[in-house]
Each structure stands twice: as C-alpha cells, then as structure tokens.
Amino acid sequence: MRKSIVEKILEVKDDKNKIARAFVIDSKSSSPRNVGNEMLIFSDGKTFSTIGGGKDEKIIIDKALQLFSEDCRKSSKVEISLTRKEAAEIGWVCGGNVEIFIQLI
C-alpha cells in the first residue's frame, strides 16, 4: 500500500464520505497488471491513482458505487477476464485474468 493512498484516505474520509480501495490481488497470464496496484474510489465516482485504466477500471468503479449503495456494505472480490479478442477491442495486446479486491473503508 502506498503512503499516498493512506494519506488520501485520512484527508477525505469522514462520516459522510465513503471510500473504496480497489487493489489487484492476483493476476494471471499476460495481464499487464501488477499485484498490489491500487486506486481509491469516492462516493461521487471520482478516483485517486489508477490500476491501469481502460474498460475494466470502469467496471471496478461501477462495482464500488454499487457497493456504496447497498445496505450490507460488504467488501468484495471482482474477477475480470478478457479473452484475446476482447482485449484487442479495448486496445490491450493480450488477454488475461485479474482478480481485484474492493475494500470498503
């Protein structure tokens, strides 16, 4: 975890503001992601830092916003897998699997 992430959480977090920290916990095959890459998502949909951008970062942001709105407010795992063809469509060279954990803070 980056120090800048810790500092950002301390700066932004209060009773009203929800924050999710999303980080890559596993990555298989030729995925361009690195385990440990992380980003913050705030309740207004704004973000801090990045896990790589692109379409699947959008999936993560949407999932985080959904978790914010649910009553149970539970952290959750998201698995994203892209075939070679899907990957090509969004501009990646290769497909792959990444597992991302969304932690509600």
């Binding site: 975890m1 980056r2 120090k3 800048s4 810790v6 500092e7 959480i9 301390l10 977090k13 209060d14 980080f23 916990i25 596993d26 690195n34 385990v35 440990g36 149970c72 539970k74 952290s75 959750s76 795992k77 954990f101 932690q103 509600l104 803070i105």
Partner: protein, 259 residues
C-alpha cells in the same frame, strides 16, 4: 477504519516498517462474513493492530497472536505483495492480502544537463515523484523540466544538509563533472535506497571509485551496487536514447521480483 489508517500513518512516519493484511476471503461456517475487508497491521517491533475489535476477537479465537504475526511478517524478506491462504483449523480457512506500506517512489536526478531533461520527461510517465537538483539556474527551470515535481537550485553540498534518503528512492547521478559525481555519490553510497546509477566513461567512473575507496574508505562491495555504466544496454547514442536506457533500468529494478 479511519483510526486504523491513522495508526498505519503514524507507525510509518516514525520510520517503522509496516506490513498490512486485508482479509479478502473466508472459508468458514463460524466466522462472520462481514469481517471480509477488515485489516491487521504488524510493525517492525512486532506490535499488532486490528482494524476493529470484532476482527481482533475472531482472529484470536483461532490463532495465537505470535503465529499470526509470523505469518504476516514472513513477507518482509521479499517486500512484495502476496495473497496468502491460512488454515486456522480443519474447518476454517482465511485468505489474506499481505503487503508492506511503501513510500511513493522518488526519482532524484542530480544534474540538470542534456540527459536529465529527456529522462525526466520519460520518467514522468511512470509514476515517479521527480526532483532535479543542480546549482545552475540557467539549466534548472520548468522550461527544461515541465514534468518535474520539484526543482532544487542548490550546490549539492547544501542539498545534503537537509536530505533524508528513503527506501523507495531512485538516484540518477548525471552532473556536469566527476568532482560533482564524487560529491553526490559520497553522500549516497551508504544510504538504503532502491537504485543508484551514475553516468560516465569507465575512466571517469574509475577515478570516482578510486577517490571513494581511498578518501572515504568505501568498500568494493558498497561500490558494486552502483549501476555504472548507467542504463540497460540498447546501443543508445543520443541523450534521448540514453535517457530511454536509464528509464528502462529503473523499470527493471522496480519490477524485479527477486530483489
């Protein structure tokens, strides 16, 4: 949770190594699923903190605190993040994501010459906090370094008066002459940083090394950590090409899982 992050920050700022663990999964009929997402933190001195009382109570039911600490601290040797499965007993398994707290990687470029400028440009694409240090105001300005985070116009000697090295520092020494290279390397050679690279011909490098050995009693082992000649071998010739080679070396050190 915010209090927990404040503790992380306090521990880290008092220059302790801090390892955090997030509970990412459970295979258990007994442990409350709502604990997923809760955290633990272990500092260098072996203190352990939990993100909530409930987490502490549940974890302690199944595993001795000493054992838990050991599981988490195992990571310190590799410094890498890791997903780890821990069997508490036959019926209860937890999965933890364990990682150290790290400083933002800093790139410190000593010397604002013709290599530094393309190097800063390229490196700014790679998530470094970049500082360039040189005492020549005519070179050190935001026209030459539009993507630098800070430019420090001081003689190197003065810069080191208030300097504090960090573990996640990357140092590139590209000053205008070997007496300055010597001055800078002398200050940094014994610091615990991630990367030190110094530019120069083998003749110049040798002169600097000889001086360090003789005047400052620097050992060959200490000198061997300096990346010199600097940069990966890609047959680079122009300043821009050399900057690419240096940037490539920074990446290879940063992403080296075996280091």
């Amino acid at each position: 949770m915010k209090d927990f992050f404040r503790k992380i920050s306090e521990q880290f700022n008092s220059s302790n190594k801090v390892i955090t663990a997030v509970l990412t999964d459970l295979e258990s009929s007994e442990i409350d699923e709502n604990l997923i997402g809760e955290m633990m933190m272990v500092d260098e001195d072996g203190g352990i903190e939990y993100s909530s009382e409930k987490m502490e109570k549940e974890i302690r039911k199944y595993i001795l605190e000493e054992e838990m600490k050991r599981e988490i601290l195992n990571l310190t040797n590799t410094k890498e993040a890791e997903l780890k499965s821990i069997e508490l007993n036959k019926d209860n398994k937890i999965e933890l994501f364990i990682e150290p707290v790290l400083d933002n990687p800093r790139l410190l470029v000593f010397g604002a010459g013709h290599i530094a400028s393309p190097l800063v440009k390229i490196s700014s694409l790679m998530d470094f906090e970049i500082t360039v240090i040189d005492d020549r105001e005519e070179f050190l300005n935001y026209d030459n370094f539009p993507s630098a985070d800070s430019l420090i116009c001081l003689p190197y000697k003065d810069y080191f008066e208030n300097f504090k090295a960090r573990q996640n520092d990357y140092i590139v020494i590209v000053t205008r002459g070997h007496q300055f290279d010597y001055e800078v390397l002398k200050e940094l050679i014994r610091e615990d940083v991630k990367y030190i690279g110094m530019i120069g011909s083998s003749k110049k490098i040798n002169e600097v090394y000889t001086k360090l050995r003789e005047k400052d009693k620097v050992s060959d082992k200490e000198l061997s950590r300096v990346h010199s000649p600097i940069g990966l071998k890609i047959n680079s010739e122009t300043p821009e090409e050399i900057a690419v080679a240096i940037a490539a070396e920074l990446i290879s050190v940063r992403r080296d899982k075996s280091a």
